[in-house]
Assembly symmetry: C2
């Protein structure tokens, strides 16, 4: 287990032999204890997959795979078994390990650092594996939105993997392990890198900011709310009315959008103008109808004869009250891929929205935003995907087992 060896220089050195060299090289008998962000541990097993309700990590990778020609149901099952076993090992508490053959030791010295790896299925997965009878109705293709400027090469995919960790090397290592464990069964279709604030950079945990500088995610549903599970997760009964088959019990649907922010245009606006576009104060996220960040938005408040929250303000158009209660859990990473071909930052949001049913979450909200959101002038949706994310694996199980062996 080379991957679990700590660094030289820490306590606990004993004499040992370097493999193949014949010269005495000190080895450590046990790793030193972790104390910092490396200790963060999110269990792989559970009713839901990890990486949905937990706080976003400092570093993220999104990657989509297409199954290889000829990869059948058995090959797909073996793939999900390899992936699940690898993630179970890498996310263990303390000093995680990596299955033999996949370990480049990039994460060797670090703790799990809140690593999560989340797996989803795109429509293509069901046709290629002969599982069309199990295709969820909720996985119907997203409608075309008039403002979309989608790149099909960075959209969709048979399989989708979301990786998050508070250490960039831990996240990169997990990405490489996932790629290597795919073997010949699947190849990378697209891959994107993202980030969020590092824990401890702010005085207290707080709602994150996006690259427009806006506090983003204030009105997200919270696990403490009584209807949270109903909004985000497919019921354990796999109720047919939800458009989901039984194997999706405890699962969720992820809408993934690469949303470029036109930051040069945005930064030309005054802060007051930016606040009018969003409907919240930029410095602390308080709605322009008054209060603090967490004060309920009053869409009917007037100031000096005008709506405090403008008619096309983002938080008005996106509000559940404006969309028959439609809501979703947004859990995004920012991205920044340097300077684009147009000379402006190629930067924005790797938007990931979670819901029990996309037709009662992302779709109606995006339909409304696409036409009426003042913010949409500063955004460009460049890639899109919709994935069925099954429930979590139990002990000894792999993710998707109830689909693939159902």
């Amino acid at each position: 287990m080379l991957g679990t060896a700590g660094a030289a220089g820490a306590a606990g050195l004993v004499a040992g032999g370097a493999a193949g060299s014949g010269i005495a090289v000190a080895a450590q008998d046990r790793p030193a204890p972790l104390t910092g962000i490396g200790t963060g541990h999110i269990p792989f097993e559970g009713a839901h997959q990890a990486g949905i309700v937990e706080p976003t990590q400092a570093r993220g990778h999104l990657v989509a795979f297409d199954l290889a020609a000829g990869a059948d149901r058995a090959a797909a099952a073996a793939l999900l078994r390899r992936w699940s076993d690898a993630v179970r090992a890498m996310t263990a508490a303390g000093h995680p390990s990596t299955p033999a053959g996949y370990d480049d030791q990039v994460a060797g010295d670090a703790g799990p650092s809140s690593l999560t790896v989340t797996f989803g299925f795109g429509r293509g997965f069901f046709t290629r594996t002969g599982l069309t009878a199990q295709l969820p109705a909720a996985l119907a293709p997203l409608p075309d939105f008039p403002s979309d400027a989608l790149d099909p090469r960075r959209s969709d995919g048979d399989l989708w993997v979301q990786i998050g960790a508070d250490d960039a090397l831990v996240a990169f290592h997990a990405l490489r392990v996932i790629q290597k464990a795919a073997r010949d069964a699947a190849g990378v279709r697209w891959q994107m890198n993202g980030f969020n604030r590092t824990p401890g950079a702010t005085p207290a945990p707080m709602t994150g900011r996006n690259l427009m500088g806006q506090i983003d995610g204030t009105n997200n549903p919270r696990p403490s709310q009584p209807d949270f599970a109903r909004k985000v997760f497919v019921p354990a009964s796999g109720a047919p009315s939800s458009g989901s088959p039984a194997w999706m019990a405890g699962g969720s649907y992820a809408v993934v959008r690469r949303i470029r922010m036109l930051l040069d245009s945005w930064d030309h606006l005054s802060v007051t103008a930016q606040e009018r576009v969003i409907g919240r104060r930029k410095s602390d996220g308080a709605p322009l109808s008054g209060g603090t960040e967490t004060t309920a938005v009053d869409l009917d408040a007037f100031v000096h004869g005008s709506l405090a929250i403008a008619g096309d303000a983002h938080i008005r158009v996106a509000a559940p009250a404006s969309n028959s209660g439609a809501t979703m859990l947004r859990r995004a990473f920012s991205y920044h891929d340097g300077i684009g071909e147009d000379g402006a930052p190629d930067a924005g949001l790797l938007f990931v929205a979670w819901q029990a049913d996309p037709m009662r979450g992302f779709v109606p909200v995006q339909r409304k935003l696409d036409g009426g959101d003042g913010l949409s002038r500063f955004l460009r949706h460049e890639a899109s995907g919709l994935f069925a994310v099954p429930g979590g694996a139990g002990p000894g199980e792999y993710v998707g087992q109830r689909l693939l062996e159902g």
Copy 2:
């Protein structure tokens, strides 16, 4: 000073007025105290610029600018003044601020998070500003190395800026401020993003690993060594023998190389084969001649009739003992720009090497590595730059003032 306002929800809320709304919005009278990595503070002022001897941060940006046509010495001086003032403000202890007009509030809630911003001059800077008499001899173009595969669009530049911070939003914010403060005086030539381990991910601070999984930087010169300053910095006297003019006193020369790692090929080697290529044990960095990571390498040690450190092992070919004592301070960021056009990871090292004289640092070592290093088969140098990094600014000074007003 919107940029200094803390998040709502913390202690210390008082009633206030939202600008332009007329509705009471709570405001904070003072930011909450920082306790985590946000508190990291590296002073901007000093004999040397920040970002050379300090530990690498979790996130880095490298960006090169070319002066605009017609930008003269006065325009360049004003640019360096704007940049220095902005960095002085952003790197202040506690809750930093940002000069008005440049603040997108992306870093609003965070502490300085060990932010450093380091400025350097390329050869073009001297010709465009009419300062050719001040061009350091040490800034002679790097020789062509036969294995180089350099992209001129991502190489060189009139001005070079290195940004590092332990929080990705703080680093991104600084990059945007630097770009905006360039105004019409300079435009971005190229820009690259990098990363390192997050503080606290490992049990104790340790030498970092690169994306090959190798502990990298063990034999770096250390500030505690008596000849450290002589190797890394131009003497305060600006001794002519060093090839540096007086304005470079306290400065250093940065060699910047984008070095792609051919990770798929590398990962096909066994760990034993990788260790032979490097000359160190992968798990803990101990040299194959014995000991622990920090044990001096014994290039003459034999095992079973063979050299313990192979003839073409990286640490042998790069060793000062193999290069007439030539050495440099390597301070790199890893990079990962997703999947390359060849289907392999576009990932590797943003190598930054610091030395008092490139002809006694990078150049002789790279000449030797280029021909004889077993590791070179797994690397591709894709971009290159050499920059004169002047000494640090004193109170009220800007970086480069001794050049531009000398």
